[in-house]
Amino acid sequence: MTKQWIVLAVSTLMLMCGCSSQSGSNGNGNGDFKYFVVFSQCNNAEPYRAAQNKRIEELFAQNPEVKLVIYDGQADAAKQISQVENAILQKPDLLIVAPLERNALSDVMGRAMDAEIPTICLERDIVEPNYTTYISADNVAIGRLAGQFIVDHLTEKHGEPKGALVEITGMKGVQGGTDRHNGAFEVLDKYPDIKAVHQATGNWFQGEATARMEEALSANAQIDVVYAHNDPMAYGAYLAAKEANRADGIAFVGVDGLPAEGEQYVTDGILAASFEYPLCVDKAHEVGMKLLTDPSFTPEKTYILESRAIIPEK
Protein backbone atom coordinates (compact mmCIF):
# COMPACT_ATOMS: atom_id res chain seq x y z
CA MET A 1 0.00 0.00 0.00
CA THR A 2 2.84 2.39 0.90
CA LYS A 3 4.31 1.99 -2.57
CA GLN A 4 1.04 3.03 -4.11
CA TRP A 5 0.74 6.13 -1.97
CA ILE A 6 4.24 7.17 -2.90
CA VAL A 7 3.41 6.65 -6.56
CA LEU A 8 0.21 8.64 -6.17
CA ALA A 9 2.04 11.50 -4.48
CA VAL A 10 4.75 11.53 -7.13
CA SER A 11 2.25 11.51 -9.96
CA THR A 12 0.20 14.32 -8.40
CA LEU A 13 3.33 16.40 -8.13
CA MET A 14 4.37 15.61 -11.70
CA LEU A 15 0.99 16.44 -13.11
CA MET A 16 0.79 19.70 -11.16
CA CYS A 17 4.28 20.68 -12.25
CA GLY A 18 3.60 19.67 -15.82
CA CYS A 19 0.42 21.64 -15.91
CA SER A 20 1.66 24.72 -14.16
CA SER A 21 4.87 24.90 -16.16
CA GLN A 22 2.99 27.02 -18.64
CA SER A 23 1.09 29.07 -16.12
CA GLY A 24 -0.78 31.99 -17.51
CA SER A 25 -1.07 30.28 -20.84
CA ASN A 26 -4.83 30.41 -20.67
CA GLY A 27 -6.17 33.54 -22.17
CA ASN A 28 -8.38 34.70 -19.43
CA GLY A 29 -8.01 36.76 -16.34
CA ASN A 30 -4.80 35.81 -14.64
CA GLY A 31 -2.22 37.31 -16.99
CA ASP A 32 -1.44 40.95 -17.67
CA PHE A 33 -1.95 40.74 -21.41
CA LYS A 34 -4.66 42.33 -23.45
CA TYR A 35 -4.92 40.02 -26.45
CA PHE A 36 -4.92 36.24 -26.57
CA VAL A 37 -3.67 34.69 -29.81
CA VAL A 38 -3.76 30.98 -30.66
CA PHE A 39 -1.63 29.53 -33.44
CA SER A 40 -2.70 26.02 -34.43
CA GLN A 41 0.33 24.48 -36.12
CA CYS A 42 -0.24 21.25 -38.03
CA ASN A 43 3.07 19.59 -37.15
CA ASN A 44 5.88 21.08 -35.07
CA ALA A 45 8.26 18.31 -36.05
CA GLU A 46 9.13 19.65 -39.51
CA PRO A 47 11.96 22.11 -40.11
CA TYR A 48 9.76 24.55 -42.06
CA ARG A 49 7.11 24.44 -39.32
CA ALA A 50 9.67 24.76 -36.57
CA ALA A 51 11.08 27.84 -38.31
CA GLN A 52 7.54 29.27 -38.54
CA ASN A 53 7.00 28.70 -34.82
CA LYS A 54 10.30 30.28 -33.89
CA ARG A 55 9.68 33.32 -36.07
CA ILE A 56 6.10 33.90 -34.94
CA GLU A 57 7.20 33.69 -31.31
CA GLU A 58 9.90 36.30 -32.00
CA LEU A 59 7.39 38.54 -33.74
CA PHE A 60 4.71 38.46 -31.07
CA ALA A 61 7.36 38.85 -28.38
CA GLN A 62 7.60 42.43 -29.65
CA ASN A 63 4.03 42.96 -28.46
CA PRO A 64 3.95 42.42 -24.70
CA GLU A 65 0.21 43.05 -24.68
CA VAL A 66 -0.24 39.83 -26.69
CA LYS A 67 -0.16 36.32 -25.24
CA LEU A 68 0.65 33.81 -27.97
CA VAL A 69 0.01 30.09 -27.59
CA ILE A 70 1.03 27.46 -30.15
CA TYR A 71 -0.80 24.14 -30.42
CA ASP A 72 0.93 21.23 -32.16
CA GLY A 73 -1.35 19.07 -34.34
CA GLN A 74 1.37 16.40 -34.56
CA ALA A 75 0.54 15.63 -38.21
CA ASP A 76 -2.84 14.22 -37.12
CA ALA A 77 -5.86 15.95 -38.62
CA ALA A 78 -8.27 14.73 -35.94
CA LYS A 79 -5.90 16.01 -33.27
CA GLN A 80 -5.62 19.40 -34.92
CA ILE A 81 -9.42 19.66 -35.16
CA SER A 82 -9.73 18.91 -31.44
CA GLN A 83 -7.13 21.54 -30.65
CA VAL A 84 -8.95 24.18 -32.67
CA GLU A 85 -12.13 23.18 -30.81
CA ASN A 86 -10.27 23.69 -27.54
CA ALA A 87 -9.10 27.05 -28.81
CA ILE A 88 -12.63 28.14 -29.73
CA LEU A 89 -13.79 27.36 -26.18
CA GLN A 90 -11.14 29.76 -24.90
CA LYS A 91 -12.40 32.54 -27.18
CA PRO A 92 -9.07 33.91 -28.40
CA ASP A 93 -8.90 37.40 -29.90
CA LEU A 94 -7.15 35.97 -32.94
CA LEU A 95 -6.82 32.46 -34.31
CA ILE A 96 -4.13 31.48 -36.79
CA VAL A 97 -4.40 28.03 -38.35
CA ALA A 98 -1.84 26.27 -40.52
CA PRO A 99 -4.11 23.41 -41.64
CA LEU A 100 -2.75 19.90 -42.05
CA GLU A 101 -5.37 18.98 -44.65
CA ARG A 102 -7.61 21.00 -46.93
CA ASN A 103 -10.80 19.11 -46.13
CA ALA A 104 -10.30 18.23 -42.51
CA LEU A 105 -9.91 21.71 -41.02
CA SER A 106 -12.51 23.45 -43.16
CA ASP A 107 -15.51 22.81 -40.93
CA VAL A 108 -13.94 23.59 -37.57
CA MET A 109 -12.50 26.86 -38.93
CA GLY A 110 -16.02 27.71 -40.01
CA ARG A 111 -17.11 27.24 -36.42
CA ALA A 112 -14.37 29.58 -35.26
CA MET A 113 -15.70 32.17 -37.71
CA ASP A 114 -19.25 31.57 -36.41
CA ALA A 115 -17.92 32.27 -32.93
CA GLU A 116 -16.72 35.61 -34.33
CA ILE A 117 -13.05 34.82 -33.83
CA PRO A 118 -10.89 36.50 -36.52
CA THR A 119 -9.20 33.59 -38.25
CA ILE A 120 -6.09 33.60 -40.40
CA CYS A 121 -5.55 30.62 -42.67
CA LEU A 122 -1.84 30.15 -43.11
CA GLU A 123 0.09 28.67 -46.02
CA ARG A 124 -2.30 25.84 -46.94
CA ASP A 125 -5.71 26.51 -48.42
CA ILE A 126 -8.94 24.94 -47.11
CA VAL A 127 -11.92 23.81 -49.14
CA GLU A 128 -14.33 26.55 -48.11
CA PRO A 129 -13.22 30.13 -47.46
CA ASN A 130 -13.78 29.81 -43.70
CA TYR A 131 -11.26 32.45 -42.75
CA THR A 132 -10.90 36.18 -42.37
CA THR A 133 -7.84 36.15 -44.55
CA TYR A 134 -5.60 33.61 -46.26
CA ILE A 135 -1.85 34.12 -46.38
CA SER A 136 0.20 31.93 -48.63
CA ALA A 137 3.06 31.63 -51.04
CA ASP A 138 2.86 30.50 -54.62
CA ASN A 139 4.58 27.18 -55.24
CA VAL A 140 3.96 27.31 -58.98
CA ALA A 141 5.77 30.65 -59.15
CA ILE A 142 8.61 29.20 -57.10
CA GLY A 143 8.80 26.26 -59.50
CA ARG A 144 8.99 28.70 -62.43
CA LEU A 145 11.87 30.56 -60.77
CA ALA A 146 13.70 27.27 -60.22
CA GLY A 147 13.02 26.18 -63.81
CA GLN A 148 14.38 29.45 -65.18
CA PHE A 149 17.47 29.17 -62.96
CA ILE A 150 18.12 25.66 -64.31
CA VAL A 151 17.77 26.88 -67.92
CA ASP A 152 20.18 29.77 -67.28
CA HIS A 153 22.65 27.51 -65.53
CA LEU A 154 22.68 24.93 -68.33
CA THR A 155 22.98 27.63 -70.98
CA GLU A 156 25.99 29.01 -69.17
CA LYS A 157 27.51 25.55 -68.80
CA HIS A 158 26.97 24.16 -72.29
CA GLY A 159 26.54 27.31 -74.34
CA GLU A 160 22.95 26.33 -75.07
CA PRO A 161 20.02 25.13 -72.96
CA LYS A 162 20.67 21.41 -72.85
CA GLY A 163 21.55 18.82 -70.25
CA ALA A 164 20.43 15.94 -68.06
CA LEU A 165 18.13 16.67 -65.12
CA VAL A 166 17.25 14.56 -62.10
CA GLU A 167 14.10 15.53 -60.24
CA ILE A 168 13.51 14.42 -56.66
CA THR A 169 9.93 15.05 -55.71
CA GLY A 170 8.19 15.52 -52.40
CA MET A 171 5.52 13.20 -51.09
CA LYS A 172 3.08 12.27 -53.84
CA GLY A 173 -0.30 13.87 -53.48
CA VAL A 174 0.91 16.91 -51.59
CA GLN A 175 -0.13 20.00 -53.52
CA GLY A 176 3.09 21.88 -52.73
CA GLY A 177 5.19 19.23 -54.47
CA THR A 178 2.87 19.00 -57.46
CA ASP A 179 2.98 22.79 -57.86
CA ARG A 180 6.77 22.94 -57.57
CA HIS A 181 6.99 20.30 -60.31
CA ASN A 182 4.44 21.96 -62.60
CA GLY A 183 5.98 25.41 -62.25
CA ALA A 184 9.47 24.19 -63.10
CA PHE A 185 8.38 22.08 -66.05
CA GLU A 186 6.24 24.88 -67.42
CA VAL A 187 9.61 26.52 -68.15
CA LEU A 188 11.76 23.43 -68.79
CA ASP A 189 9.36 21.88 -71.30
CA LYS A 190 10.14 24.74 -73.68
CA TYR A 191 13.65 23.36 -74.07
CA PRO A 192 13.55 19.87 -75.57
CA ASP A 193 17.28 19.41 -75.10
CA ILE A 194 16.92 19.58 -71.35
CA LYS A 195 16.00 16.01 -70.52
CA ALA A 196 14.60 14.75 -67.27
CA VAL A 197 16.58 11.52 -67.17
CA HIS A 198 15.42 10.37 -63.76
CA GLN A 199 12.45 11.24 -61.54
CA ALA A 200 12.00 9.74 -58.10
CA THR A 201 10.18 10.62 -54.90
CA GLY A 202 12.14 11.40 -51.75
CA ASN A 203 8.99 11.99 -49.67
CA TRP A 204 10.57 15.26 -48.43
CA PHE A 205 13.22 13.29 -46.52
CA GLN A 206 16.95 13.75 -46.87
CA GLY A 207 17.70 10.07 -46.28
CA GLU A 208 15.31 8.85 -48.95
CA ALA A 209 16.66 11.41 -51.41
CA THR A 210 20.17 10.04 -50.89
CA ALA A 211 18.99 6.51 -51.68
CA ARG A 212 17.08 7.65 -54.78
CA MET A 213 20.06 9.70 -55.97
CA GLU A 214 22.35 6.69 -55.64
CA GLU A 215 20.04 4.87 -58.04
CA ALA A 216 19.98 7.86 -60.39
CA LEU A 217 23.79 8.01 -60.38
CA SER A 218 24.07 4.31 -61.18
CA ALA A 219 21.61 4.57 -64.03
CA ASN A 220 22.96 7.79 -65.60
CA ALA A 221 26.54 8.48 -66.59
CA GLN A 222 25.81 12.15 -67.16
CA ILE A 223 23.83 14.33 -64.76
CA ASP A 224 23.98 18.13 -64.91
CA VAL A 225 21.31 19.31 -62.51
CA VAL A 226 19.36 17.93 -59.57
CA TYR A 227 16.08 19.68 -58.82
CA ALA A 228 14.70 18.65 -55.43
CA HIS A 229 11.39 19.90 -54.06
CA ASN A 230 13.00 20.87 -50.78
CA ASP A 231 16.47 21.67 -49.47
CA PRO A 232 16.97 18.58 -47.28
CA MET A 233 16.38 16.38 -50.34
CA ALA A 234 18.74 18.49 -52.44
CA TYR A 235 21.35 18.08 -49.72
CA GLY A 236 20.63 14.33 -49.53
CA ALA A 237 21.19 14.04 -53.27
CA TYR A 238 24.43 16.00 -52.91
CA LEU A 239 25.68 13.55 -50.28
CA ALA A 240 25.09 10.62 -52.64
CA ALA A 241 26.91 12.39 -55.47
CA LYS A 242 29.77 13.38 -53.20
CA GLU A 243 30.27 9.77 -52.13
CA ALA A 244 30.38 8.77 -55.80
CA ASN A 245 32.89 11.59 -56.45
CA ARG A 246 30.50 13.18 -58.92
CA ALA A 247 29.25 16.16 -56.92
CA ASP A 248 31.50 18.69 -58.69
CA GLY A 249 29.87 18.30 -62.08
CA ILE A 250 26.32 18.63 -60.78
CA ALA A 251 24.33 21.69 -59.75
CA PHE A 252 21.93 21.02 -56.86
CA VAL A 253 18.81 23.14 -56.66
CA GLY A 254 16.49 23.10 -53.66
CA VAL A 255 13.41 24.89 -52.37
CA ASP A 256 12.46 26.47 -49.00
CA GLY A 257 15.60 28.50 -48.24
CA LEU A 258 15.35 28.37 -44.45
CA PRO A 259 18.18 30.35 -42.86
CA ALA A 260 19.73 27.41 -41.01
CA GLU A 261 19.16 25.03 -43.89
CA GLY A 262 18.93 25.94 -47.57
CA GLU A 263 20.49 29.36 -47.13
CA GLN A 264 23.38 27.79 -45.23
CA TYR A 265 23.85 25.11 -47.91
CA VAL A 266 24.08 27.82 -50.56
CA THR A 267 26.57 29.79 -48.48
CA ASP A 268 28.62 26.63 -48.03
CA GLY A 269 28.66 26.08 -51.80
CA ILE A 270 26.72 22.83 -51.57
CA LEU A 271 23.60 24.02 -53.35
CA ALA A 272 23.75 26.13 -56.51
CA ALA A 273 20.50 27.79 -55.49
CA SER A 274 17.56 27.60 -53.17
CA PHE A 275 14.22 29.32 -53.61
CA GLU A 276 12.71 30.73 -50.50
CA TYR A 277 9.29 29.48 -49.58
CA PRO A 278 8.12 32.34 -47.35
CA LEU A 279 7.29 31.39 -43.78
CA CYS A 280 4.17 33.56 -44.11
CA VAL A 281 4.21 34.36 -40.39
CA ASP A 282 5.63 37.88 -40.81
CA LYS A 283 2.58 38.77 -42.85
CA ALA A 284 0.34 36.92 -40.38
CA HIS A 285 1.81 38.98 -37.55
CA GLU A 286 1.39 42.25 -39.45
CA VAL A 287 -2.20 41.52 -40.49
CA GLY A 288 -3.00 39.94 -37.13
CA MET A 289 -1.87 42.98 -35.14
CA LYS A 290 -4.02 45.23 -37.34
CA LEU A 291 -7.00 42.95 -36.81
CA LEU A 292 -6.44 43.10 -33.06
CA THR A 293 -5.89 46.84 -32.70
CA ASP A 294 -7.73 48.53 -35.54
CA PRO A 295 -11.48 47.88 -35.61
CA SER A 296 -11.81 49.67 -38.95
CA PHE A 297 -9.22 47.45 -40.67
CA THR A 298 -10.48 45.02 -43.28
CA PRO A 299 -7.84 42.66 -44.63
CA GLU A 300 -7.65 41.38 -48.17
CA LYS A 301 -9.25 37.95 -48.55
CA THR A 302 -5.96 36.58 -49.87
CA TYR A 303 -2.30 37.57 -49.65
CA ILE A 304 0.13 35.74 -51.92
CA LEU A 305 3.73 36.31 -50.88
CA GLU A 306 6.65 36.54 -53.30
CA SER A 307 9.55 34.14 -53.30
CA ARG A 308 13.22 35.08 -53.38
CA ALA A 309 16.13 33.31 -55.06
CA ILE A 310 19.02 32.46 -52.78
CA ILE A 311 22.17 32.18 -54.88
CA PRO A 312 25.88 32.50 -53.99
CA GLU A 313 27.23 36.04 -53.95
CA LYS A 314 29.45 36.53 -56.93
Partner: protein, 325 residues
Amino acid sequence: MANESKLKALLGRHRALLQSFAVLAFIFVVAVVVSPLDIRGNNLFLNPENLTNMLRAITPVAIIALGMTLVILTAGIDLSVGATLALSATVTALGFSQWQYPLPMVIALALLAGLAVGVMNGTLIAWLRVQPFVITLASMIGIRGLTRMLSDNENIGLRTVGESAAYFVDTFSQKSVMIGIFLGLAVIFGALLSRTVFGRYTRALGDNPQAALYAGLPIKTVTIAVYALTGLLAGIAGVLNAARTSTGNPNDGIAMELDVIAVVVIGGTSLAGGRGTIIGTVIGALIVGILTNILGLRNVDANGQLMLKAVIIVLAVVLQQGRKA
Protein backbone atom coordinates in the same frame (compact mmCIF):
# COMPACT_ATOMS: atom_id res chain seq x y z
CA MET B 1 -12.48 -24.38 -0.51
CA ALA B 2 -13.67 -23.85 -4.03
CA ASN B 3 -16.27 -21.39 -2.87
CA GLU B 4 -13.76 -19.48 -0.82
CA SER B 5 -11.36 -19.04 -3.73
CA LYS B 6 -14.25 -18.03 -5.95
CA LEU B 7 -15.24 -15.39 -3.46
CA LYS B 8 -11.67 -14.19 -3.26
CA ALA B 9 -11.45 -13.97 -7.04
CA LEU B 10 -14.70 -12.03 -7.17
CA LEU B 11 -13.48 -9.64 -4.51
CA GLY B 12 -10.19 -9.33 -6.34
CA ARG B 13 -11.96 -8.41 -9.55
CA HIS B 14 -14.03 -5.76 -7.88
CA ARG B 15 -11.05 -4.36 -6.08
CA ALA B 16 -9.20 -4.16 -9.38
CA LEU B 17 -12.10 -2.22 -10.83
CA LEU B 18 -12.24 0.05 -7.79
CA GLN B 19 -8.56 0.78 -8.18
CA SER B 20 -8.99 1.68 -11.84
CA PHE B 21 -11.83 3.99 -10.85
CA ALA B 22 -9.61 5.54 -8.20
CA VAL B 23 -6.94 6.39 -10.79
CA LEU B 24 -9.59 7.83 -13.09
CA ALA B 25 -11.14 9.89 -10.30
CA PHE B 26 -7.71 11.13 -9.31
CA ILE B 27 -6.88 12.30 -12.86
CA PHE B 28 -10.33 13.87 -13.12
CA VAL B 29 -9.92 15.84 -9.89
CA VAL B 30 -6.46 17.03 -10.89
CA ALA B 31 -7.87 18.12 -14.26
CA VAL B 32 -10.63 20.11 -12.56
CA VAL B 33 -8.16 21.75 -10.19
CA VAL B 34 -5.61 22.78 -12.80
CA SER B 35 -8.13 23.68 -15.51
CA PRO B 36 -8.05 27.23 -16.83
CA LEU B 37 -11.19 29.34 -16.45
CA ASP B 38 -13.22 30.74 -19.31
CA ILE B 39 -14.25 34.37 -19.70
CA ARG B 40 -17.11 34.08 -17.20
CA GLY B 41 -14.83 32.41 -14.69
CA ASN B 42 -16.28 28.95 -15.23
CA ASN B 43 -14.12 25.86 -15.22
CA LEU B 44 -13.07 25.20 -18.81
CA PHE B 45 -12.40 21.50 -18.34
CA LEU B 46 -15.88 20.90 -16.88
CA ASN B 47 -17.57 22.78 -19.72
CA PRO B 48 -19.91 20.16 -21.29
CA GLU B 49 -18.68 21.25 -24.70
CA ASN B 50 -15.13 20.44 -23.65
CA LEU B 51 -16.01 17.11 -22.01
CA THR B 52 -17.81 15.92 -25.12
CA ASN B 53 -14.92 17.19 -27.29
CA MET B 54 -12.63 15.08 -25.14
CA LEU B 55 -14.82 11.98 -25.49
CA ARG B 56 -15.10 12.32 -29.23
CA ALA B 57 -11.35 12.84 -29.58
CA ILE B 58 -10.57 9.56 -27.82
CA THR B 59 -13.32 7.57 -29.60
CA PRO B 60 -11.34 5.96 -32.47
CA VAL B 61 -8.55 4.79 -30.16
CA ALA B 62 -11.09 3.65 -27.54
CA ILE B 63 -13.13 1.64 -30.05
CA ILE B 64 -10.10 -0.27 -31.28
CA ALA B 65 -8.95 -0.77 -27.69
CA LEU B 66 -12.09 -2.86 -27.03
CA GLY B 67 -10.91 -5.45 -29.53
CA MET B 68 -7.28 -5.10 -28.51
CA THR B 69 -8.37 -6.06 -24.99
CA LEU B 70 -9.60 -9.42 -26.27
CA VAL B 71 -6.43 -9.93 -28.30
CA ILE B 72 -4.21 -9.11 -25.35
CA LEU B 73 -6.30 -11.37 -23.09
CA THR B 74 -5.25 -14.25 -25.34
CA ALA B 75 -1.65 -13.09 -24.75
CA GLY B 76 -1.55 -11.82 -28.34
CA ILE B 77 -0.98 -8.36 -29.84
CA ASP B 78 -2.23 -6.58 -32.96
CA LEU B 79 0.13 -4.02 -34.45
CA SER B 80 -1.84 -3.63 -37.68
CA VAL B 81 -4.78 -1.60 -36.32
CA GLY B 82 -3.43 1.83 -37.35
CA ALA B 83 -2.86 0.67 -40.92
CA THR B 84 -6.26 -1.02 -40.94
CA LEU B 85 -7.89 2.23 -39.82
CA ALA B 86 -6.18 4.01 -42.73
CA LEU B 87 -7.35 1.30 -45.14
CA SER B 88 -10.94 1.62 -43.97
CA ALA B 89 -10.84 5.42 -44.10
CA THR B 90 -9.34 5.31 -47.59
CA VAL B 91 -11.92 2.78 -48.81
CA THR B 92 -14.64 5.03 -47.38
CA ALA B 93 -13.26 8.04 -49.25
CA LEU B 94 -12.78 6.11 -52.49
CA GLY B 95 -16.26 4.65 -52.16
CA PHE B 96 -17.80 8.09 -52.21
CA SER B 97 -15.45 9.89 -54.59
CA GLN B 98 -14.18 7.44 -57.18
CA TRP B 99 -16.61 4.54 -57.06
CA GLN B 100 -19.71 6.64 -56.37
CA TYR B 101 -21.36 3.89 -54.30
CA PRO B 102 -24.42 4.58 -52.12
CA LEU B 103 -23.74 5.28 -48.45
CA PRO B 104 -24.67 1.89 -46.92
CA MET B 105 -22.50 0.10 -49.43
CA VAL B 106 -19.53 2.38 -48.79
CA ILE B 107 -19.72 1.74 -45.05
CA ALA B 108 -20.23 -2.00 -45.55
CA LEU B 109 -17.21 -2.13 -47.84
CA ALA B 110 -15.01 -0.22 -45.38
CA LEU B 111 -16.04 -2.47 -42.49
CA LEU B 112 -15.50 -5.52 -44.66
CA ALA B 113 -11.97 -4.32 -45.44
CA GLY B 114 -11.24 -4.07 -41.72
CA LEU B 115 -12.80 -7.45 -41.02
CA ALA B 116 -10.83 -9.05 -43.84
CA VAL B 117 -7.52 -7.80 -42.40
CA GLY B 118 -8.53 -9.18 -39.00
CA VAL B 119 -9.53 -12.56 -40.38
CA MET B 120 -6.28 -12.74 -42.30
CA ASN B 121 -4.25 -11.91 -39.18
CA GLY B 122 -6.13 -14.41 -37.05
CA THR B 123 -5.96 -17.18 -39.62
CA LEU B 124 -2.23 -16.77 -40.19
CA ILE B 125 -1.56 -16.70 -36.46
CA ALA B 126 -3.76 -19.71 -35.75
CA TRP B 127 -2.61 -21.91 -38.63
CA LEU B 128 1.01 -20.92 -39.16
CA ARG B 129 1.63 -20.67 -35.41
CA VAL B 130 3.82 -17.63 -35.96
CA GLN B 131 3.91 -15.12 -33.10
CA PRO B 132 1.12 -12.52 -33.32
CA PHE B 133 3.73 -9.77 -33.06
CA VAL B 134 5.41 -10.93 -36.26
CA ILE B 135 2.23 -11.57 -38.26
CA THR B 136 0.62 -8.26 -37.33
CA LEU B 137 3.90 -6.38 -37.83
CA ALA B 138 3.97 -7.76 -41.35
CA SER B 139 0.36 -6.82 -42.00
CA MET B 140 0.94 -3.36 -40.51
CA ILE B 141 3.57 -2.81 -43.21
CA GLY B 142 1.70 -4.57 -46.00
CA ILE B 143 -1.68 -2.96 -45.34
CA ARG B 144 -0.07 0.48 -45.24
CA GLY B 145 1.40 -0.24 -48.67
CA LEU B 146 -1.94 -1.46 -49.99
CA THR B 147 -3.66 1.66 -48.64
CA ARG B 148 -1.16 4.01 -50.26
CA MET B 149 -1.46 2.10 -53.50
CA LEU B 150 -5.26 2.26 -53.45
CA SER B 151 -5.25 5.98 -52.79
CA ASP B 152 -2.39 6.67 -55.20
CA ASN B 153 -0.64 8.32 -52.23
CA GLU B 154 -3.29 11.02 -52.09
CA ASN B 155 -5.48 12.45 -49.39
CA ILE B 156 -8.99 11.98 -50.68
CA GLY B 157 -11.24 14.82 -49.57
CA LEU B 158 -14.93 14.24 -48.91
CA ARG B 159 -16.24 17.78 -48.71
CA THR B 160 -16.75 18.32 -52.39
CA VAL B 161 -17.67 14.94 -53.85
CA GLY B 162 -21.42 15.01 -53.56
CA GLU B 163 -24.48 14.95 -51.38
CA SER B 164 -24.24 11.50 -49.91
CA ALA B 165 -20.62 12.09 -48.86
CA ALA B 166 -21.64 15.40 -47.28
CA TYR B 167 -24.48 13.67 -45.46
CA PHE B 168 -22.08 10.97 -44.28
CA VAL B 169 -19.57 13.52 -42.97
CA ASP B 170 -22.23 15.56 -41.19
CA THR B 171 -23.87 12.55 -39.59
CA PHE B 172 -20.94 10.44 -38.51
CA SER B 173 -18.78 13.27 -37.23
CA GLN B 174 -21.45 14.31 -34.74
CA LYS B 175 -20.51 13.90 -31.13
CA SER B 176 -23.68 11.99 -30.24
CA VAL B 177 -23.11 9.52 -33.08
CA MET B 178 -19.40 8.93 -32.48
CA ILE B 179 -19.64 8.70 -28.70
CA GLY B 180 -22.87 6.69 -28.98
CA ILE B 181 -21.24 4.12 -31.27
CA PHE B 182 -18.35 3.77 -28.85
CA LEU B 183 -20.64 3.29 -25.83
CA GLY B 184 -22.79 0.78 -27.69
CA LEU B 185 -19.73 -1.21 -28.73
CA ALA B 186 -18.34 -1.06 -25.18
CA VAL B 187 -21.56 -2.59 -23.81
CA ILE B 188 -21.55 -5.29 -26.49
CA PHE B 189 -17.90 -6.19 -25.94
CA GLY B 190 -18.33 -6.05 -22.16
CA ALA B 191 -21.16 -8.55 -22.37
CA LEU B 192 -19.25 -10.64 -24.90
CA LEU B 193 -16.30 -10.97 -22.57
CA SER B 194 -18.06 -11.44 -19.25
CA ARG B 195 -21.26 -13.25 -20.17
CA THR B 196 -20.51 -15.61 -23.02
CA VAL B 197 -18.65 -18.85 -23.52
CA PHE B 198 -16.54 -17.08 -26.12
CA GLY B 199 -15.43 -14.60 -23.43
CA ARG B 200 -14.49 -17.40 -21.05
CA TYR B 201 -12.51 -19.18 -23.77
CA THR B 202 -10.72 -15.94 -24.68
CA ARG B 203 -9.61 -15.44 -21.11
CA ALA B 204 -8.69 -19.10 -20.69
CA LEU B 205 -6.52 -19.02 -23.79
CA GLY B 206 -4.21 -16.38 -22.37
CA ASP B 207 -4.46 -17.53 -18.78
CA ASN B 208 -3.19 -21.03 -19.44
CA PRO B 209 -2.76 -22.08 -23.07
CA GLN B 210 -1.66 -25.60 -22.10
CA ALA B 211 -4.80 -26.18 -20.05
CA ALA B 212 -6.93 -24.67 -22.82
CA LEU B 213 -5.37 -27.09 -25.27
CA TYR B 214 -5.92 -30.14 -23.06
CA ALA B 215 -9.46 -29.04 -22.27
CA GLY B 216 -10.18 -29.21 -25.97
CA LEU B 217 -11.09 -25.54 -26.36
CA PRO B 218 -11.56 -24.36 -29.96
CA ILE B 219 -8.28 -22.44 -29.83
CA LYS B 220 -8.04 -21.71 -33.55
CA THR B 221 -11.58 -20.43 -33.80
CA VAL B 222 -11.21 -18.19 -30.77
CA THR B 223 -7.89 -16.83 -32.04
CA ILE B 224 -9.31 -16.02 -35.47
CA ALA B 225 -12.38 -14.45 -33.86
CA VAL B 226 -10.51 -12.03 -31.58
CA TYR B 227 -8.34 -10.72 -34.44
CA ALA B 228 -11.34 -10.58 -36.77
CA LEU B 229 -13.27 -8.51 -34.22
CA THR B 230 -10.31 -6.18 -33.74
CA GLY B 231 -10.02 -5.73 -37.49
CA LEU B 232 -13.73 -4.96 -37.69
CA LEU B 233 -13.40 -2.37 -34.91
CA ALA B 234 -10.44 -0.77 -36.68
CA GLY B 235 -12.71 -0.64 -39.73
CA ILE B 236 -15.41 1.14 -37.73
CA ALA B 237 -12.86 3.56 -36.31
CA GLY B 238 -11.61 4.19 -39.86
CA VAL B 239 -15.10 5.09 -41.08
CA LEU B 240 -15.57 7.48 -38.15
CA ASN B 241 -12.14 8.99 -38.71
CA ALA B 242 -12.96 9.59 -42.37
CA ALA B 243 -16.16 11.39 -41.31
CA ARG B 244 -14.41 13.34 -38.59
CA THR B 245 -11.65 14.61 -40.89
CA SER B 246 -13.76 14.56 -44.09
CA THR B 247 -10.74 12.90 -45.60
CA GLY B 248 -9.37 9.47 -46.37
CA ASN B 249 -5.67 9.83 -45.69
CA PRO B 250 -3.42 6.83 -46.38
CA ASN B 251 -1.13 8.11 -43.62
CA ASP B 252 -3.85 8.11 -40.96
CA GLY B 253 -3.31 6.09 -37.82
CA ILE B 254 0.48 5.87 -37.98
CA ALA B 255 1.72 4.77 -34.52
CA MET B 256 -1.88 4.56 -33.38
CA GLU B 257 -1.47 0.90 -32.38
CA LEU B 258 0.77 2.09 -29.58
CA ASP B 259 -1.87 4.51 -28.27
CA VAL B 260 -4.37 1.67 -28.34
CA ILE B 261 -2.08 -0.69 -26.47
CA ALA B 262 -1.34 2.05 -23.92
CA VAL B 263 -5.08 2.49 -23.27
CA VAL B 264 -5.54 -1.25 -22.75
CA VAL B 265 -2.55 -1.49 -20.44
CA ILE B 266 -3.56 1.56 -18.41
CA GLY B 267 -6.96 -0.11 -18.13
CA GLY B 268 -5.34 -2.92 -16.19
CA THR B 269 -5.12 -5.64 -18.83
CA SER B 270 -1.97 -7.69 -18.50
CA LEU B 271 0.17 -8.18 -21.60
CA ALA B 272 0.85 -11.68 -20.26
CA GLY B 273 -2.76 -12.52 -21.05
CA GLY B 274 -5.69 -13.85 -19.05
CA ARG B 275 -6.27 -10.79 -16.87
CA GLY B 276 -8.26 -7.71 -17.85
CA THR B 277 -11.73 -6.27 -18.39
CA ILE B 278 -13.58 -4.15 -20.92
CA ILE B 279 -14.68 -1.67 -18.27
CA GLY B 280 -10.99 -1.35 -17.35
CA THR B 281 -10.20 -0.47 -20.97
CA VAL B 282 -13.01 2.11 -21.04
CA ILE B 283 -11.51 3.65 -17.92
CA GLY B 284 -8.07 3.50 -19.52
CA ALA B 285 -9.42 5.39 -22.53
CA LEU B 286 -10.99 8.02 -20.26
CA ILE B 287 -7.73 8.45 -18.36
CA VAL B 288 -5.78 9.00 -21.58
CA GLY B 289 -8.54 11.24 -22.98
CA ILE B 290 -8.70 13.47 -19.91
CA LEU B 291 -4.94 13.65 -19.69
CA THR B 292 -4.55 14.67 -23.34
CA ASN B 293 -7.37 17.19 -22.98
CA ILE B 294 -6.13 18.92 -19.84
CA LEU B 295 -2.54 19.06 -21.08
CA GLY B 296 -3.92 20.68 -24.24
CA LEU B 297 -6.08 23.16 -22.32
CA ARG B 298 -3.09 24.08 -20.18
CA ASN B 299 -1.02 24.29 -23.36
CA VAL B 300 1.75 22.13 -22.01
CA ASP B 301 4.51 21.85 -24.60
CA ALA B 302 3.75 18.98 -27.02
CA ASN B 303 7.04 17.22 -26.43
CA GLY B 304 6.59 17.62 -22.70
CA GLN B 305 3.17 16.02 -23.09
CA LEU B 306 4.72 12.93 -24.62
CA MET B 307 7.16 12.66 -21.72
CA LEU B 308 4.44 13.15 -19.16
CA LYS B 309 2.27 10.51 -20.82
CA ALA B 310 5.14 8.04 -20.72
CA VAL B 311 5.38 8.55 -16.98
CA ILE B 312 1.62 8.22 -16.51
CA ILE B 313 1.57 4.87 -18.35
CA VAL B 314 4.19 3.43 -16.03
CA LEU B 315 2.57 4.93 -12.93
CA ALA B 316 -0.90 3.67 -13.81
CA VAL B 317 0.39 0.15 -14.24
CA VAL B 318 2.48 0.28 -11.06
CA LEU B 319 -0.57 1.48 -9.14
CA GLN B 320 -2.58 -1.46 -10.40
CA GLN B 321 0.04 -4.02 -9.49
CA GLY B 322 -1.25 -3.74 -5.95
CA ARG B 323 -4.21 -5.91 -6.92
CA LYS B 324 -2.09 -9.01 -7.08
CA ALA B 325 -1.36 -8.84 -3.37
